[in-house]
């Protein structure tokens, strides 16, 4: 039943996408069985290659073909001067990057010794479980499958907790992210009209927007899964409270970060290689992770920026092991860097990105002028509301981090229902019901 519901959910976008999902599932189910049944390593490797080629080939065909082709065309034109037609982007099946990674992770785990699933329907449910199908979290087989097999009946407290988590997720997406989008989108669509400081402030707004958009979806998925008695893995641990980039990547998008660690960083040799090679491995992981987010050079630049700064932090840590950076300074540094780097993530193209950075570093910035520009983008109310919502988000996360309200734990039976009821009503008051898609649906 859950399997049918999951396929129905997915095929609501486009029925043909369901066929691709089914094909990926069947290939990985079959290859995993072949890997497990293979008598020698060469044969195992061969079947693993089949899985790798089918999953990565699928990603390449739908997501990266136009990118690589157009990049080649650009390079040829640059050197030969001849003109060639470019290729239009294909429609990317929704959630493609997520379920191919989840499915591929499973076959790699089987290659490493995991007992394969023998029931195709159960495996199909593992790949297509609808709450996390389109935007993660990317689950590990060992974590999700036992729960799907056991299917514990959720008790009332678990249901209420699930509803609360989902409510907070909807609030983050429909209220915070979508309100910020009303300022961020117009500015990034016409970057030439705005000053550097305005673009930087919008970069910061985009940091919050993308966090609320994506973690909002994860919360909704987690909450809905709980209604079925299933606990998904923790995907976000308040990354915006980090005080360094290293800490940030331990808290941010945990499921995909751990996927890259397990299935890319470790096979590359991890930290068990010479020092320079280790740093190169880290850089490569970030570079590929950037490309995973989208087939555009802006994402490659974003990934590279994170890779480089991550490496610099590692070197710094090695050189000055006893250096203690005050928490607030560390946080300011992280937020500033993250805002600057996410501008690359958000920019429509490389030309826009360079224009933004040249404006950012022009040093002719004026706060009152920027506030005037921001007010003009979409009236004063959305701007004030955005600032209040950002404050509200940080207060909630700081409270969770430091347990400020722990002394009032005895009031939880009253405070929590009141808080989440307010949040629920505020979704209807401030929420954007005009079906803004989740940013990560396209990744």
């Amino acid at each position: 039943m859950l399997l049918l519901a999951s396929y129905f959910f997915y095929m609501c976008w486009n029925p043909w996408f369901g066929i691709l999902l089914l094909a990926t599932t069947l290939i990985d189910f079959y290859t995993a069985l072949q890997i497990a049944g293979a008598t020698n390593t060469a044969s195992k490797k061969r079947w693993l290659c089949v899985s790798l080629i089918s999953n990565i080939g699928c990603l390449m065909a739908f997501k990266y073909a136009a990118f690589f082709y157009n990049t080649s065309v650009f390079a040829i034109q640059l050197f030969s001067g001849s003109s060639m037609d470019t290729m239009a982007n294909l429609i990317i099946p929704i959630g493609l990057s997520f379920y191919t990674f989840q499915s591929l992770g499973y076959t790699i785990d089987v290659y490493r010794g995991l007992k394969p699933e023998t029931n195709p329907a159960r495996f199909a449910l593992f790949v297509s479980f609808f709450p996390q199908l389109v935007a993660g979290p990317v689950e590990r087989y060992e974590h999700l499958m036992p729960q799907l097999t056991e299917r514990k009946k959720p008790d009332i407290d678990s249901i209420i907790k699930g509803i609360r988590i989902a409510t907070w997720g909807f609030f983050k997406k429909m209220v915070i992210a979508d309100t910020l989008a009303t300022i961020v989108n117009p500015v990034f669509s016409h970057v030439q009209l705005y000053s550097g400081l305005t673009l930087f402030i919008c970069g910061f707004f985009f940091v919050i927007q993308v966090y609320c958009d994506f973690s909002g979806y994860s919360d909704i998925a987690t909450g809905v899964a709980r209604l079925f008695g299933i606990e998904l893995i923790l995907n976000w641990r308040r990354p915006l409270l980090s005080r360094s980039l290293i800490e940030f990547w331990k808290r941010n998008h945990i499921s995909i970060t751990s996927w890259f660690r397990n299935y890319l960083y470790i096979p590359l040799g991890g930290n068990k290689v010479p020092y320079r090679r280790w740093l190169l491995n880290i850089f490569l992981v970030f570079l590929i992770s950037g490309l995973w987010h989208g087939a555009n050079w802006t994402f490659v630049i974003w990934g590279s920026m994170h890779g480089l700064v991550y490496i610099v932090e590692l070197i710094f840590k090695k050189q000055f092991p006893n250096l203690k950076v005050p928490g607030f300074i560390g946080w300011i540094y992280l937020i500033t860097f993250h805002s600057l780097s996410l501008i690359a993530f958000r920019a429509n193209n490389v030309q826009d990105l360079f224009m933004i950075y040249s404006k950012l570093f022009s040093f002719h910035q004026n706060l009152s002028n920027s506030l005037y520009e921001l007010k003009k983008v979409n009236d004063l109310f959305p701007l004030l509301l955005s600032i209040i919502l950002i404050g509200f988000l940080f207060l909630k996360e700081l409270n969770e981090e430091h347990g400020w309200l722990n002394r009032f734990r005895s009031f939880d039976p009253i405070l929590k229902p009141v808080f989440y009821s307010f949040v629920f009503v505020l979704i209807f008051v401030f929420g954007n019901f005009n079906a803004n898609e989740f940013i990560y649906f396209h990744f």
Partner: protein, 311 residues
């Protein structure tokens, strides 16, 4: 189970409370659009002359000019986007709380009649006034969903949008915008920022085909005027000449209105070919006069009207 029921009851009560707070904010305006809506739907008024109709009524008739020429106390209840059935609804809703006026000036425009008559332009602006029985009844006739907008906060709140939330907050904090301050007894000059040169636009020819509902609404307005001894006036206010020329059946439409006016002995003022229509400097859009044009038109009209008025 008890826990969940309690939760639901609490959430619904909270939604009603939040919605009521937002409505209080809207009703707190002392200037601007919502002050006008408060005046029309909530307050007791004693204006002896009313102007009704669409945005042409709203932005072409300046009551201050009319008052000064005709020595009346007038108010403009024209609302942007109003079709004739909606103009009737607003007029009837006005009469619920206010003294019956002696004169009603109905701006008729043949442009408006080609629109879908069920359209209620910017419908969430009426939500705070659904306690006005006539308004509620008429809106529900046009759109049955108003039953849900009135009673279900989770149905109406998402339509409030940031625009109305912002207006509500401004109401609480008594913040007015230049647009709010531009309102003069319900008259709203079109903001300069939205102005376009009407000479530079392309005009697609079209036909106004009045629907049965238009005549029914017109009959209802005439009936109300008769039964309450209100003197009614029909007016076609000026639009830019190129806009007028693009209406292919203008003459047929105007002569129909003229015939109705003659039959019912209603004074009829047709400015659709007035010299004002030729002066592009008096227009901010093809279908709307600017403030200068509106004042000039109001002055001309007020002088023409003087001899017919009941005081």
């Amino acid at each position: 189970m008890r826990k969940i029921i309690l939760y639901i009851v609490f959430i619904i009560s909270l939604a009603y409370l939040v919605r009521e707070i937002l409505y209080i904010g809207l009703r707190s305006h002392k200037e601007g659009e919502f002050d006008k809506l408060n005046t029309i739907f909530e307050k007791h008024n004693e204006y002896n002359t009313l102007i009704i109709g669409s945005s042409r009524a709203e932005s072409h008739f300046n009551p201050e000019v009319i008052d000064s020429i005709d020595q009346v106390n007038s108010y403009n209840i024209g609302l942007e986007g109003n079709t004739l059935p909606m103009a009737l609804a607003v007029f009837e809703a006005y009469l619920v709380n206010s003294k019956t006026p002696k004169n009603v000036i109905l701006n008729l425009d043949y442009y408006g009649v080609k629109e879908n008559m069920d359209i209620i332009n910017n419908f969430p602006k009426y939500f705070a006034y659904l306690d006005n029985p006539k308004l509620y009844e008429k809106l529900k006739e046009r759109d049955p969903d108003f039953l849900f907008y009135k009673w279900l906060p989770f149905y109406s709140l998402p339509y409030m949008q940031k625009k109305y939330l912002s207006i509500s907050f401004r109401g609480f904090f008594k913040v007015t915008t230049p647009f709010d301050q531009s309102f003069i007894k319900g008259f709203v000059p079109i903001p300069k920022e939205t102005a376009v040169d009407p000479d530079t636009l392309t005009y697609t020819p079209y036909q106004s085909l009045p629907k049965r509902l238009i005549y029914e609404s017109l009959d209802s307005i005439i009936h109300i005027a008769r039964s309450r001894q209100i003197k009614l006036f029909f007016v076609i206010s000026p639009m830019f000449h190129k806009q007028v020329e693009s209406t292919q059946n203008r003459e047929a439409f105007v002569s129909t209105l003229k015939r109705i006016a003659q039959d019912k002995q209603i004074p009829f003022f047709d400015y659709s070919l007035d010299e004002i229509t030729m002066k592009k400097e008096l227009f901010c859009k093809p279908k709307h006069l600017n403030k200068k044009g509106a004042d000039l038109f109001s002055y001309t009209f007020a002088k023409d009207l003087r001899q017919y008025l009941s005081k």
